[in-house]
């Protein structure tokens, strides 16, 4: 399957963008499984990983259905061929999702940034003309609401916890901040302009940061490229690992 030769319309690209972002973040969060700071939180972060994986699968399955309908005589596409046989340049996930986990502070803060963004975006998707996207968004929002609650509490705990935790979450903020701009930079395939989500996103972040005794950075340079397939060097390794069996044994069923 050579996806680069299939022309994907904007709508399909958009679904894949939603799928890729949730899959890659799920993949990163699942690295914590068996390595968490305490059993209870190991289970918690793994639950979030599973939620994100479920969301990704829903989007991939939807994309596969649409592709198969429009390409009735060609090769059949599945959630797995979309996740396992597309390459680095074809993945459209947000850069922030592919960054290394770092320490617990970095993982938590990324999750918080992402979940708040995701909540705003998916609330808008509820009105999507594509009923399937709206349905997936509706189901996901329940999960995302919990992810926000969980991650925001942790942001506050770490920000207002010990000197060390405060130092660490500040370092995480320093590292992650320049990857948050991409949420709001529109790509050609996006259904509606995400830049208008920015204000509300900042509002929530600010409110939680105040409780966490953290300061909101003032603007600064923002990285972008994930949406158009210009990734960090990390993504190649994620995919190499994730896709190894499908690539080594083409056509095998698992």
């Amino acid at each position: 399957m050579h996806f680069q030769f299939i022309t994907l319309n904007n709508h399909l690209q958009y679904i894949l963008f939603l799928a890729d972002s949730t899959l890659i973040l799920s993949q990163r969060n699942s690295e914590w499984c068996a390595h968490g700071p305490i059993l209870e939180q190991d289970i918690a972060i793994t639950n979030i990983s599973l939620d994100l994986l479920g969301q990704a699968r829903n989007f991939y399955q939807h994309a596969a259905n649409l592709l198969n309908q429009s390409n009735a005589n060609g090769e059949t596409v599945s959630e797995d061929s979309l996740a396992y046989l597309r390459n680095e340049r074809e993945f459209k996930n947000l850069l922030i999702t592919e960054l290394p986990n770092g320490d617990w502070a970095q993982t938590i803060l990324r999750q918080f940034f992402f979940s708040v963004y995701q909540h705003l975006l998916y609330s808008r998707l509820l009105k999507s003309e594509d009923k399937q996207i709206a349905a997936i968004a509706e189901k996901s929002l329940k999960e995302i609401t919990y992810h926000i609650k969980w991650s925001r509490e942790w942001v506050v705990r770490l920000g207002d916890g010990t000197e060390e935790s405060n130092r660490r979450i500040k370092a995480a903020l320093d590292y992650l901040w320049m990857y948050t701009g991409e949420f709001f930079i529109p790509a050609t395939f996006e259904e509606s302009d995400p830049s208008s989500l920015r204000e509300q996103w900042l509002e929530t972040i600010k409110e939680v940061f105040e409780e966490a005794t953290l300061e909101l950075p003032a603007g600064g340079f923002m990285q972008q490229g994930g949406k158009t397939g210009n990734h960090t060097e990390y993504l190649g390794y994620i995919l190499a690992e994730m896709q190894t069996l499908q690539r080594t044994y083409p056509g095998a069923e698992w």
Binding site: L39, E40, I43, A44, K149, E153
Partner: protein
């Protein structure tokens, strides 16, 4: 009492039976262990909360979330109570006889104690 357990089972290798992956090192505990909480789950509307187990958490909000992740992964609950274990007061098992046995001969508290003719329905 000096009892030697000599039979080994899965997960039950005696401590003197050899080393481990790494040589013995200094304990790593730093005394910031999270307190223990007891978790009570209502499995569906209309039923009582029932003791499900325990877990560790730094505060009550976290204890409820941990309980959600640990004890309701398979839709076992619709409501959660948590209480820090140290606040549970329990009856003393040494007093079991004086506590519970006096109820044994009060058979007249049970409906089956009363013989009624079969003609009396719905009672």
């Amino acid at each position: 009492m000096n009892i030697q357990i000599r039979k080994f089972y899965y997960g039950d290798i005696p401590e003197d039976a050899g080393g481990s992956g790494s040589s013995a090192q200094q304990p790593v505990t730093n005394g910031t262990a999270w307190p223990l909480w007891e978790v009570f789950i209502r499995s569906k509307q209309g039923l009582d909360h029932k003791h499900a187990g325990s877990l560790h958490a730094a505060d009550a909000a976290m204890a409820i979330e941990n309980a959600r992740d640990v004890y309701t992964r398979r839709q076992e609950g619709v409501s959660i109570w948590v209480v820090e274990s140290k606040y549970i007061h329990a009856s003393n098992p040494d007093e079991a006889e004086s506590f519970y046995e006096p109820a044994a001969d009060k058979v007249y508290r049970h409906p089956s104690f009363y013989d009624l003719p079969d003609e009396v329905k719905h009672m």
